[in-house]
Symmetry: C2
């Protein structure tokens, strides 16, 4: 029986509990903690955790794995509080949306007797809170893993195994690289959605506008409903990258203003190229999800440990690389096919 | 039997055909035309039209109602072509996403013996083409109606009745006002989605980024998959309003860059206010959809004509006003309730 402690019972913490219990039933005992006692009750009711614990130090006592799933800025406080109470060899991970700052906190606040392996499952919902937890939230999602330089290979493989068992696809970016990449594709979109809500709702015509706003406005502003404390944590720990991408986006908008002066054909061609780029991504996503994942259960079936066997530790990293490059080949092939079709069409 | 001609068998034209046949079965005969013969075949197969016609002039011969559902820029050509072939008293409408330019074309190109009533159903999907047509596409949607100053009251009521019968909520903005409002809530979002795709996919790190882009990036860029010829038509006929809103949006982004320098509390409070504004809109939308619509079938049931009876013509405009103000009261009330809850929470 593996003892898992989940600190922070929101959408991600709760979903992780449900997903783990579904993936390895009867093999984990999950203790959950949240500063909000209603979240603990709710998590217990949903059976996302086996045991609720109001005392954070009791939560991590004898834990084999500690998952910190609080909003980003609370992660530092949690590390400070639990650091000296973690057992030797305990594996600590988190689910924060930025990684460089969190890795620095772990280096500063966790003892060298534990292994820190940062994590970031690329999954979410518009709604927050444990009541929306979903055992299948991580299915097909990319799971970023950033091991501390001092973490043991076994600890890294445990987190990789965990990601795979809950249906996600592990990916190993450098922390700074991770933060810059997600600034563009995850954090900038939150700013854009929020700014669109700001600019529309503060307009003198908002009352009339609100009647005409429909599904397009709804999907464009979906991310403005992200939990504010989560967004604030993201923005404060990834400010530099975000500023960079906001500036690039403003530049792009200036380009679009120029484009509006073009003739019909040029405008239509430009927009068609953008649509194509998005659809290529959507196709690629499917390839990534569908073609890579079938390999993973095969790997997992051979595992001797709960999440991963040590003898596979060295092999599986190479295997993942192989899968990725194969997936790229397929993506490239599919893109070529698409382009062929367009020429025919 | 009312003879309806639909010119342009895409998502909107096809959905309108399906919705009409569902709403008033056996009471309309729909002839459909498209420059693409495959769209005609598909529309026939889906039974969105009763008869397909390759000749546009044959399509409008003896029609009581002509719906022009082509991309915006083609509307001008269609008007030019059919103008002198329309029967006296024929009602002409369109489904274009901008209105001022289209009203000007109608004034210039349609004879004074027909009644033009511009229309814009605020409904759509990410996908285009008649194969995605849906009889329920307009359920609960706002349907903007801009009558030509010369249109008869009966023609206006016909289009209002049509909107109501297919489940939509009629709304009567001034054409210029319409264009400015939709520039902010419909057209700017297309630019933002497209610019986000542009900025991300042209980045040197797109290959890595694309792996981390998930549901947030997908919903934020959904509108970048809008049919390019539709977007081009929108942008070219609403350029001034769009430029205005792009500038306002850039200003807003500069404000967000400043906000990123704020402390946690200020940042979180600002984001919470934005989320609240969006959720108030979502709540309001529901009120608007749910509370206004039940009235409409009651009105429609009393209609003596197919879409609307003349004796209700004067009354129903006042009725609509009443519904709108009642809906506002409910919205206001619900907002007050929400705020009460937050104070308690």
């Amino acid at each position: 029986m593996q003892r898992v402690a989940i600190i922070g019972l929101g959408l991600i913490g709760g979903s992780l509990g449900l997903a783990l219990k579904k993936a390895v039933p009867g093999q984990v005992e999950i203790t959950g903690h949240d500063h909000d006692r209603r979240a603990i009750s709710q998590a217990l009711k949903l059976q996302a955790i086996d045991r609720g614990e109001r005392n954070i130090l009791e939560t991590v006592r004898d834990a084999d794995l500690v998952v910190i799933a609080t909003p980003i800025l609370a992660i530092r406080d949690v590390m400070k509080e639990i650091g000296s109470h973690l057992g030797r060899g305990c594996v600590v991970t988190d689910t924060g949306s930025t990684k460089a700052q969190i890795m620095a906190w772990a280096r500063e606040l966790l003892p060298s007797t534990v292994d820190f392996v940062g994590g970031h499952p690329m999954a979410g919902k518009e709604v927050s809170g444990v009541e929306h937890a979903d055992a299948d939230l991580f299915q097909g999602a990319t799971y970023c893993i950033c091991p501390s330089p001092l973490a043991s290979q076994q600890a890294v493989e445990s987190i990789r195994g965990l990601a795979q068992r809950i249906g996600a696809v592990p990916y190993f970016p450098d922390p700074a690289e991770h933060d810059s990449l997600v600034a563009a594709v995850s954090h900038l979109p939150i700013i854009l959605a929020s700014a669109l809500v700001s600019v529309a709702t503060t307009s003198q015509s908002w009352r009339e506008m609100s009647r005409l706003a429909s599904s397009g406005f709804k999907s464009s502003t979906r991310l403005a409903s992200t939990d504010p404390s989560m967004s604030a944590g993201i923005f404060l720990t990834n400010r530099e990258a975000l500023e960079h991408w906001i500036d690039r986006f403003i530049n792009e908008l200036e380009g679009y203003k120029e484009l509006l002066k073009a003739d019909e054909e040029e405008l239509e061609n430009s927009l068609a190229r953008v649509r194509e780029a998005r659809e290529r991504w959507l196709d690629g996503k499917e390839t990534w999800d569908v073609d890579d994942r079938p390999e993973i259960p095969n790997v997992s079936q051979q595992l001797t440990g709960l999440f991963v066997g040590e003898r596979l530790a060295r092999r599986s990293r190479d295997l993942l690389k192989l899968q990725l490059s194969r997936s790229d080949d397929m993506r490239r092939k599919r893109r070529d096919d698409d382009e062929g079709e367009e020429t025919r069409g």
